[in-house]
């Protein structure tokens, strides 16, 4: 038994807490292994509080604490800042909602809801898995906000604290209203249909005749809330559209509903008929179902982020050698602040003290950290790598070089009207044609009988109510959006699909978009390195700023860096140095092994390591362009004008030319403003532009473009405001997505044709003035349902054919 266990351990040592591989079995409690002391501490904390159920619900549920940076949450004692974070307080009991992006399994839910066992001040906590939030109610006399945040951080669930977070709840409220409206409409439609049965069956005996009027008046009663409450959105939207002199699809719908309701009232009160209230309520019900289907949102994703959600909430200040914290939006010019390893520079500032290596990759797209010396200007948005530095701000947060981008007019205007939805274009003509037909029918019948003319007029308006027209778009696009979602392409709204189908030009950002971010895949090929050898290799690459050195540095595990001497760097070849008496070389195959036979079969970059002229093996660094980039580009460049905008220098131009053809416009050293202007220029030339980017430096371009897609390694991480978030793993499907958006549009056109056929059939009854409630009650739901079924089925069928399901 013991032997078996030992073999198992040798095969793979897995951290009991986070499930990552452990390098040895040194850190353990009993038979439970941990990859690092951070994980062990969390386990001890949970164990001490009898919370080990955490480990029984899901296996290795924890979050790795390996790269954990000790954070200072002192700013949470600041009363004003606290006010902004919490939801509600009465001085004693406070409720607060934290966004916890790390939530990923059932164990997370369990631990977040059992916080009260670790902090007696917590009264109640409730997690929402889909939104990745936790609401906590706590007693101010027993604990503080700061303590709770520290507790969450200590168990690996650091809340995402930023000031931009509080604006989300609006959409939830709208959604709730839709639920009410759908309930009322469904309720009324069902009951009215029951009361209309005598009418459908044409029962005409004495007893039924007595009851019929009662049923009719009950129908009116039930239809009132539908007309005044459930359908109100359509009237409002139609009214708003007309005021702007736009005939949107809600105009013919509103006319239809209005005429249905008024004619039914007239028929029932004048006792000339039973009315069409069943059709009306069913129509409203279907329309809201369609709206609901279209309104799918990705609760955990945020498409509206600006720099505020990327920037820290508070900074560490230094005054008379005492460290205090200050909310970032209170930061003034000439404030002295301390930036620690991994922290962001919140405002343009001048370096006062310390060694600054600023990683601007997210801001400018430049991939290597930049060294700054005392007195240098550091732009906001950079991330300090290394020790703590002291800086003095020269501009306010909102006036800094990067953040000024958000003062651009692109961000202030509403982008809804960029492209008119297809359905609105169609409905414009549709409405006028229907009104024309209705008038002609009325004029034709008027000399014969005024009541027949009235019948024909209203019947045309009723039957032409474009419910099928209005339903085909939400169901087609709603299905498409779900299909995209399954392929890890998340859209802000269904509207984006229509815009995507219309694009003519695609603009790529380089760093992070077509290349993979920092974590290029590095593995060591050869006999595995001993700890000492790792130490030697790591010490050498530590001195080089070459991107490959950085990649190697990142994958070698944490060791003490040794002093080196005789450091030599031969550009394009490699580096060497004497470390602790050993001659260590790292570089190309030729440089290290002196073997000039080029191994052509291997496309990946290989960096060789030798210690005392003994070749130990090589680090294999897999191409940092996204997989299948070439295929994606070659299929795109036939149909679209492609361009690349890079914040980097043009060092990669040649390797990019292997992938992109000559027509591709490549611009390097582009500032965020240049990118925005470039998109604007393209648009002025009549292009519909799709921008694909990832960082804050693309924020302006993403917002300005017709469709802005942000690419992300982890969709729950920060991504700037955009129309869609694409998981980097699905980048290879980009072409399929664009093609499918066109397919969706064709499906919509087909459904329009189907709905027009129904309309023509209905109109032929209507113009003769012979539209009976029964025909209307059959024809209207039939057309709606068949269009819905057609739209949903064909969208899914096409997706299956294209391999998207």
């Amino acid at each position: 038994m013991n032997q078996v266990e030992e073999i198992n351990i040798k095969e793979k040592l897995i951290c009991y807490h986070c499930g990552e591989e452990c390098k040895d079995d040194e850190i353990k409690i009993g038979n439970k292994l941990f990859c690092c002391n951070g994980c062990k501490t969390v386990y001890e904390l949970l164990d001490a509080n009898d919370l080990c159920t955490y480990y029984n619900i899901d296996e290795n549920p924890g979050l790795s604490k390996k790269n954990d940076i000790k954070k200072n949450f002192d700013f949470l004692d600041d009363a004003e800042l606290k006010e902004k974070i919490i939801d509600f307080t009465d001085g004693k009991i406070t409720t607060v909602t934290f966004s916890i992006p790390q939530t990923h399994c059932s164990s997370c839910i369990w631990i977040l809801e059992n916080l009260y066992k670790m902090d007696e001040g917590v009264i109640h906590s409730e997690a929402n898995f889909l939104k990745k939030i936790v609401s906590i109610k706590f007693d101010e006399t027993k604990t503080t906000l700061k303590n709770i945040v520290i507790l969450l951080d200590s168990i690996g669930y650091e809340p995402d604290l930023n000031l931009a977070d509080k604006e989300v709840e609006k959409s939830a409220l709208i959604n709730k209203k839709l639920w009410y409206k759908i309930g009322v409409a469904g309720f009324a439609a069902g009951n009215i249909m029951l009361f209309s049965f005598p009418e459908y069956l044409s029962l005409n005996d004495m007893a039924t005749d007595n009851i019929k009027p009662v049923f009719s008046y009950l129908n009116i009663l039930f239809s009132l809330p539908v007309f005044f409450y459930s359908a109100s959105d359509y009237f409002i939207s139609a009214y708003k559209g007309l005021r702007k002199k736009i005939v949107n699809v809600d105009v013919p719908i509103s006319i239809g509903i209005l005429v249905l309701f008024l004619r039914s009232l007239f028929e029932i009160i004048s006792q000339t008929g039973a009315g069409y209230l069943d059709s009306m309520t069913a129509l409203v019900f279907f329309l809201i179902v369609g709206k609901m289907f279209q309104n799918k949102t990705y609760a955990a994703l945020n498409f509206e982020r600006n720099y505020k959600s990327y920037f820290p909430i508070a900074v560490t200040m230094k005054k008379n050698n005492i460290e205090t914290t200050k909310p970032v939006d209170k930061l003034e010019v000439k404030d002295r602040i301390i930036i620690k390893n991994g922290e962001l520079i919140p405002a343009d500032s001048v370096l006062i003290n310390g060694v600054a290596f600023i990683d601007y990759s997210f801001v400018t797209g430049e991939s290597n950290p930049v060294e700054k010396i005392n007195g240098d200007l550091i732009y906001a948005g950079g991330r300090q790598v290394g020790g703590a530095i002291e800086v003095e701000t020269v501009k306010e947060v909102s006036q800094s070089y990067l953040t000024q981008l958000w003062n651009n007019k692109t961000f202030t205007k509403d982008d809804e009207s960029k492209i008119d939805a297809f359905v609105n274009v169609v409905s414009r003509y549709f409405t006028f044609i229907v009104i024309a037909i209705a008038s002609v029918a009325a004029i034709y019948w008027f000399p014969i009988s005024s009541s027949l003319a009235f019948n024909a007029l209203t019947a045309v308006l009723i039957i032409a109510c474009p419910c099928a027209l209005a339903l085909s778009t939400p169901f087609t696009l709603g299905s498409s959006m779900r299909i995209f979602g399954r392929n890890k392409f998340y859209l802000k709204s269904t509207h984006v699909i229509e815009k995507l189908a219309a694009i003519t030009s695609i603009v790529f950002d380089k760093t992070g978009t077509i290349t993979e971010t920092q974590n290029a895949n590095v593995e060591f090929v050869g006999d595995s390195l001993s700890d000492y050898e790792t130490q030697l290799a790591k010490s050498l690459v530590h001195n080089s700023s070459h991107p490959l050195s950085k990649n190697i540095f990142n994958i070698l595990h944490e060791v003490e860096i040794l002093n080196i001497s005789n450091y030599k760097e031969i550009p394009g070849q490699g580096i060497s140095a004497i470390i602790d008496g050993h001659n260590v070389q790292i570089g190309s195959r030729v440089y290290v092994t002196e073997n000039s036979n080029k191994d052509e079969s291997n496309l990946s970059t290989q960096v060789y390591l030798s210690i005392d002229d003994n070749v130990r093996g090589f680090f294999k660094i897999t191409n940092s362009y996204r997989p299948k980039l070439k295929e994606v580009i070659s299929s795109l460049q036939n149909n679209y004008k492609l361009s690349i905008l890079s914040g980097d220098n043009d060092g990669e131009r040649n390797s990019l030319l292997d992938i992109f053809d000559q027509k591709t416009e490549m611009l390097f050293k582009q500032s965020p403003y240049d990118k925005l202007n470039y998109i604007e220029n393209l648009q002025n030339k009549g292009n519909e532009v799709l921008m694909i980017g990832d960082g804050l430096n693309d924020a302006g371009a993403l917002k300005r473009s017709d469709v802005g897609i942000s690419i992300s390694e982890d969709v729950n991480n920060f991504s700037p405001a955009c129309d869609g978030i694409l998981d980097s793993k699905s980048f290879k499907k980009l072409d399929d997505f664009i093609k499918f958006s066109k397919t969706s549009k064709n499906i919509i056109i087909l459904s329009f044709i189907i709905s027009f056929i129904y309309n023509i059939v209905g109109l032929s009854f209507a113009v003769q003035g012979t539209l009976s409630p029964v025909i209307s009650a059959i024809l209207m739901p039939l057309s709606s349902i068949s269009v819905v079924v057609f739209a949903t089925l064909s969208t899914n069928l096409m997706a299956k054919r294209k391999g998207l399901i």
Binding site: D50, T53, I57, S106, I109, E113, L130, F187, V214
Partner: protein
């Protein structure tokens, strides 16, 4: 025949009750989160006792 009016009254009343129940359920947030409760219901309420009981049960079996 009058009985039908009574029945209509009752049926409408029952239907309205269901509508009210539905609106109440939306209002109390039962449609806000349709995933987490499905996980939450599977959590054991008291873990401490289980731990102590389990070994005893095993002994008896052997």
């Amino acid at each position: 025949m009058e009985v039908i009016f009574v029945l209509i009254g009752f049926s409408s009343f029952v239907a309205l009750m269901f509508l009210a129940a539905y609106i109440w359920s939306v209002k109390t947030g039962q449609y806000d989160d349709n995933y987490t409760p499905s996980v939450r219901i599977l959590f054991d309420s008291e873990v401490k006792k289980n731990k102590k009981e389990q070994p005893e049960v095993e002994h008896k079996k052997i």
